[in-house]
Symmetry: C2
Subunit: 355 residues, 2 copies
DNA sequence: TTGAAAGCGCTAACAC
DNA sequence: GTGTTAGCGCTTTCAA
């Protein structure tokens, strides 16, 4: 009794549902009904409870709620790195949408490292997170070891993939219409007269493969042979891979008239290489990239803009659907992109009028 | 009994400490000792427990641990927006450091909105987070209402400020040596011959005020009068404030020879305005900014570079110190910066040789 | 070195 | 409409 009173007087202490019940003169079940907004409570009781809550500045303990109700009001976002512009904008959108529903977001960077992804997924499980949004490290061709499969296939925690798919794991996937958008971007370059279009991207990811598919079909449709030496693969981890690969393409393919960059992370360093060689777009070379950025506007770079905000929003909404109905059938959502035409693409050099 | 067995067979179920205890043939207290690594356990028991843990792929339930032990292995980062480059890099560093200690990071964007900050701090409290890193919205001059003071002064949850201070709340603060660095950056501009230096920044934040202080003292030291109309204030929320304010300065102060930008968020849009006017650095105007970025390298902009990684690391380490010893005396850490000189600052135009 | 038992703060049955 | 009670899965006394 003494301790209870001393707690009441201590502004730094947090009160429990018992304190509220005692002050309101009702049982803690009734308090629970009021704050949880379920069951039925008389107006009189409700009022007393709300007054007590206000007086004590009572906030229910989410941890205890979670243990009992199996809902922690938390979603986890697992992705390569929040430093990546796409991921960054995605997390921002997710957090914003989650907040609307009073959910919090746990951020897990995998640094594009398999072990870290596994570790995060384990942690998430032990934290009883309500849902997971995953941009997996798993690249096309890599197989998840059996002993970790349960982390990806657990029916307990709803999980959806964003951007990248994992072949062999059936989950909801939300991504841009990569193939179609890439097809159209390539077609745009072709329409300007380009036939030798270099491509830089991290080939192993499903996303990039889809974009490559669109690139190839546009070329084929135009009767242009696909030269695989024009497609260069950037290892994710390499710092300034874009610079090295742009240099490689420029050195080995003097006939190349356009560069098509499939990851935004790479574009900045491609520009560094162009700067080094004092090459300007579109006069010396045409440049088209994915994902918008302030840089793109400053350099007038034509860009395939992804609606990351929309993707994040849909991811959260879909996750909530799955929380309510885990049996909801799996499907893939493709979000449209926009080709923002600026000034970095022109007609091929040395071919005034198509000579 | 039947249910217990069926759980054992279901790969998707998560096991509890009871399952492990049963399988290992010991009490759950002993299991707790092994996985928590405290007390003393015989080698024999330890081995049995570890085998059972491995066999069941048991992971302790963090929620239950948290409820009982009052440690949730979570720290919360509350800041304006993860989209901001500085915050972004900070969160990245924090998460990396936290992971080393098996702590997870809850991300809370305030969108520079007071109500959202309050709400997040309340949520954090109810979540029994172990520590908080805060870049507060509270600007100089604004007073925290009494009813919310406890959120900032609670002795229950260790909290430290990063970057921005809240006057009147005594907490650890980790920030760059803003005043000194700004003094030196300004001195550098003065040494090139500039006397009319325009400043763009979000004045209300303590960080920016410190930088302004350094700016002023450098001018005073050089005997240059401080013209407050050269200092323009960017509201945080305004989109492309940098562009509007750069335009204002350029229009109203034709004698201005250099611009000094105190927030990185503003620099991109300042460049847009320069581009619009077809002005080049350093020929038409000199430009110096805070916080490095790919853009700065591409545009050869001289920059005060903050060691965000170091700030994040220190923040986490200090937070852990405070968790262990909440009585540890409060202090401020200033992290050094580096003035990276590129090509955006030159001698004032129209003054060849100082005419 | 170990186990039994209490209880963290809450929700959900089940009575009344 | 309301209260009592039994746990959620774990840690932590306290005995043995």
């Amino acid at each position: 009794m003494f301790e209870r009173e001393s707690r009441m007087e201590n502004g730094n202490q947090t009160y429990t549902i018992d304190d509220v019940a005692k002050l309101a003169g009702v049982s803690k079940a009734t308090v629970g009904r009021v704050i949880g907004n379920y069951g039925s409570v008389s107006e009189k009781s409700r009022k007393k409870v709300l007054e007590a809550v206000a007086q004590l500045d009572y906030v229910p303990n989410t941890i205890a709620q979670g243990l009992r109700s199996h809902s922690t009001k938390t979603i986890a976002v697992v992705l390569g790195s929040i430093k990546n512009d796409y991921c960054n904008a995605l997390v921002y959108a997710i957090e914003k949408e989650a907040m609307k529903r009073d959910y919090n977001v746990l951020i897990c960077n995998t640094h594009e490292n398999l072990d870290k992804e596994i570790k995060h997924l384990q942690t998430i499980r032990s934290r009883q997170v309500d849902g997971v949004i995953l941009i997996s490290v798993y690249t096309v061709g890599k197989v998840i070891p059996d002993r970790y499969r349960h982390l990806y296939e657990s029916q307990n925690i709803p999980m959806i993939f964003v951007d990248r798919n994992i072949i062999g794991i059936k989950k909801d996937l939300i991504q841009s219409n990569n193939e179609q958008a890439s097809y159209e971007a390539t077609k745009y370059l072709i329409s300007l007269g380009h036939r030798r279009i270099g491509v830089i991207g991290t080939v192993a990811y499903s996303t990039v493969q889809e974009r490559l598919k669109g690139y190839r079909s546009a070329l084929q449709e135009a009767g242009i042979p696909v030269d695989s030496s024009l497609i260069v693969d950037a290892e994710y981890s390499e710092n300034r891979a874009g610079q090295r690969l742009a240099a490689k393409l420029l050195d080995e393919h003097p006939d190349m008239t356009a560069m098509y960059v499939l990851n935004n992370t790479l574009c900045g360093s491609v520009l560094l290489e162009l700067k080094k060689r004092d090459m300007k777009t579109p006069d010396d070379i045409s440049l088209l990239t994915w994902d918008d950025d302030e840089i793109n506007e400053l350099f007038d770079i034509t860009t395939v803009v992804q609606r990351v905000d929309e993707i994040g929003k849909r991811a959260v909404n879909r996750l909530f659907e799955l929380m309510e109905n885990p049996q909801s059938p799996i499907y893939t959502q493709q979000v449209s992109t926009q080709l923002v035409i600026r000034k970095s693409c022109g007609t091929p050099r040395n071919e005034p009028g198509g000579g």
